[in-house]
């Protein structure tokens, strides 16, 4: 069973994000970039499936500029077997990513495609769902537990409002990871060295027959408004008065 894991190169979670002076986006020049943390969880889950003898091959795929190969290399050092890089300098939006991944899925025929539930840069939370729709596959999103059954199905525990929901999906399916699915390992030194020798194939959207051009137009990116300082009230009566007359919420 092949498992395909999508890994996105994003601004490192430790970096304080800054909006570009011209308001067209987020500053990424000279900023530390890393693998999207939800995707790390995805790689970890895939590698665990392989270690448990459930998966035979783990393929890490990343889409975007040349530097995405660093992200793929990190996935290979965590234990993925090979990488696919779809190279493009076009700004990739969720629908384009889903279409490109669908083309890769058609080529590789994995039984499970694992994605992060969202990327920490744009927090779109769309790609996994769109991919499932395009491929006509079942989807199990926000997964906090994955159990592969012998009959070619899987039980996935999902984190939903107010609790946990367990769904059964038939392979092939799309899984998106939530935080509590696992705790990703860090690459060991021997695996870092082995990763050097693992292959990364490079493809282009044209080769995959996908038009990756953006469909959405970003009008403006701005920092959130600064929070106003709070005030202290002297009595409950004053609080009620302010809530009623100033905030007008009661």
């Amino acid at each position: 069973m092949k498992v395909l894991v999508a890994v996105k190169r994003v601004v490192d979670y430790n970096v304080k994000v800054r909006v570009k002076a011209d308001g067209t986006g987020v500053e990424t020049a000279n900023v530390k970039m890393s693998m999207n943390p939800f995707d790390e969880i995805g790689v970890e889950e895939a590698v665990r499936l392989k270690e448990a003898g459930k998966a035979t091959e783990v393929i890490a795929v990343s889409l975007g500029p040349t530097q995405c190969q660093e992200t793929i290399r990190t996935a290979l050092a965590m234990g993925a077997d090979r990488g696919i890089h779809v190279q493009t300098d076009v700004e990739l939006q969720p629908l384009a990513v889903a279409k490109l991944l669908k083309a890769v899925v058609d080529k590789e025929q994995p039984q499970i495609c694992i994605l992060g539930k969202q990327a920490i840069d744009d927090d779109a939370n769309q790609t996994g769902q769109m991919l499932a729709a395009l491929a006509g596959w079942p989807q199990a999103t926000f997964a906090s537990k994955l159990v592969i059954n012998d009959d070619g199905s899987a039980n996935v525990t999902r984190e939903v409002d107010g609790g946990l929901e367990t769904v059964t999906v038939k392979m092939p399916f799309v899984l998106t990871t939530d935080l509590r699915l696992n705790e990703p390992r860090y690459a060991s030194l021997p695996n870092i060295m082995k990763a050097k020798k693992k292959p990364i194939d490079t493809l282009t959207p044209e080769q995959l027959g996908v038009d990756a051009a953006p469909r959405l137009k970003t009008l403006k990116v701005a920092e959130p408004a600064k929070r106003q300082a709070g005030i202290k009230v002297k009595s409950v009566a004053e609080l009620v008065d302010k809530l009623r007359n100033e905030a007008k919420v009661i």
Binding site: T74, Y186, A187, L189, N191, A195
Partner: protein, 388 residues
């Protein structure tokens, strides 16, 4: 050959792994260990086991003896990250002394390989109460007696943690008459801890790296076979120079990591602490300190990288290594001191790691050759070139 200090993919991932390792396995315990002045045995075992799992243990040693086989630049990057944490804890991400590579015959099975596997820990025993910077004045002697040597004397300030399993002991085995007068024949021996007549005790508490021990070693008619000699008889210092000069560059890298951590703490504080209605980073008295720290750290990092590059090319001199160690350790002293100044009173409180880093920084200008010895090594080369 042109030098290129950009990191390879492997180096970038190595740094990331060491960083995560420190954050998960070491930082959470650092304050408690420092306050107690004691490294709990279970914690030591746990860090060691994790370091082995991740392949960081003995990463500095060549692959043919079971080590990680890191190149010099990668070792330096790893050392720089490890420098961010206390020696008492980073010691258990073992980096066996490179001098053990001089092991031969049964020494390989008995000392080198178990040390690389983390089953044994060594102590490097050169310093004596009467022989600090003046290493040639050591008086511990080993007198030949047939195929044996009989060892008498003592060592102190022998760094380690948890009793070492064996010590690499530098001794005097004779005197040669040379044109410049009598010269001691110095020989290194591998001495097992349980050898009759060999005793070890803990030395006084140290203000730097509180939980990291220093030992006093005593030798009372310790009988050693000549097979215990590491390298050749009379070639102890040649051996030490061959294997250990690179160690000074690694101390320098360790200092750079520590300085970076202190600078980050000070920068965070300057960007958030408010006085007189604004963050203190807005005052030049603070911001210029930060600028100086960053510039000095960059200079030290570049010097260390350049020295590593020379080491890799096989062109590094003693003076090169001395410059890196001198500058990086003194830079660390200034950076930790200024970081405390930016924090003000809070910097001295033991709730924050800064006071510990400030104390720890002090030893870096002393061990592995004091700053004065480094300056001596550097200037000696300069003067020799001009002397008639």
């Amino acid at each position: 050959m042109a030098f290129d200090f950009s990191q390879t993919d492997e180096q970038r991932m190595l740094v990331e792994t060491v960083r995560q390792f420190i954050e998960k396995e070491i930082f959470p315990h650092e304050r408690e260990v420092d306050r107690a002045g004691e490294m709990p045995v279970d914690l030591a075992r746990q860090i060691k086991a994790r370091a082995k799992e991740v392949g960081l243990y003995a990463a500095n040693m060549p692959e043919e003896v079971g080590g990680g086989g890191l190149d010099v630049m990668s070792q330096m990057l790893m050392e720089r990250e490890l420098g961010k944490c206390n020696w008492a804890l980073q010691k258990f991400v073992g980096r066996p002394s490179a001098i053990l590579m001089a092991s031969r015959d049964e020494q390989i099975e008995k000392y080198l390989l178990p040390t690389v596997r983390g089953e044994k820990m060594e102590a490097f025993a050169l310093t004596e109460p009467g022989a600090g910077s003046d290493a040639m004045s050591i008086s511990t002697r080993a007198e030949a007696d047939g195929d044996d040597y009989v060892l008498n004397g003592g060592k102190h300030f022998i760094s380690g943690i948890g009793l070492p399993d064996f010590a690499i002991v530098f001794t005097v085995t004779g005197i040669d008459e040379t044109k410049r007068g009598p010269r001691k024949r110095v020989t290194a021996f591998l001495v097992d801890r349980d050898t009759p007549g060999f005793s070890i005790r803990r030395g006084p508490r140290c203000v730097s790296y509180r939980a990291y021990d220093n030992y006093e070693l005593f030798f009372d008619n310790v009988r050693l076979n000549k097979r215990q000699i590491l390298g050749e008889e009379g070639k102890g210092f040649v051996l030490a120079n061959e294997w250990l000069t690179g160690g000074r560059v690694m101390v320098a890298a360790n200092c750079c990591g520590k300085a970076e951590r202190a600078m980050e703490l000070a920068t965070d504080w300057a960007a958030t602490r408010k006085q007189f209605g604004q963050t203190i980073g807005k005052f030049q008295g603070t911001s210029f300190k930060l600028a100086d720290m960053a510039t000095e750290l960059r200079a030290a990092d570049t010097l260390v990288a350049y020295t590593c590059w020379k080491l890799e090319q096989g062109t590094m001199t003693d003076a090169d290594a001395a410059m890196a160690k001198l500058f990086a350790s003194e830079m660390l002293g200034r950076v930790t001191d200024q970081a405390i100044q930016i924090f003000g009173g809070m910097g001295l409180m033991d709730e924050l790691p800064l006071e510990m880093m400030w104390r720890d920084a002090r030893i870096e200008r002393i061990w592995e050759g004091t700053s004065e010895i480094q300056r001596h090594i550097i200037s000696r080369d300069m003067l020799r070139a001009k002397e008639q």
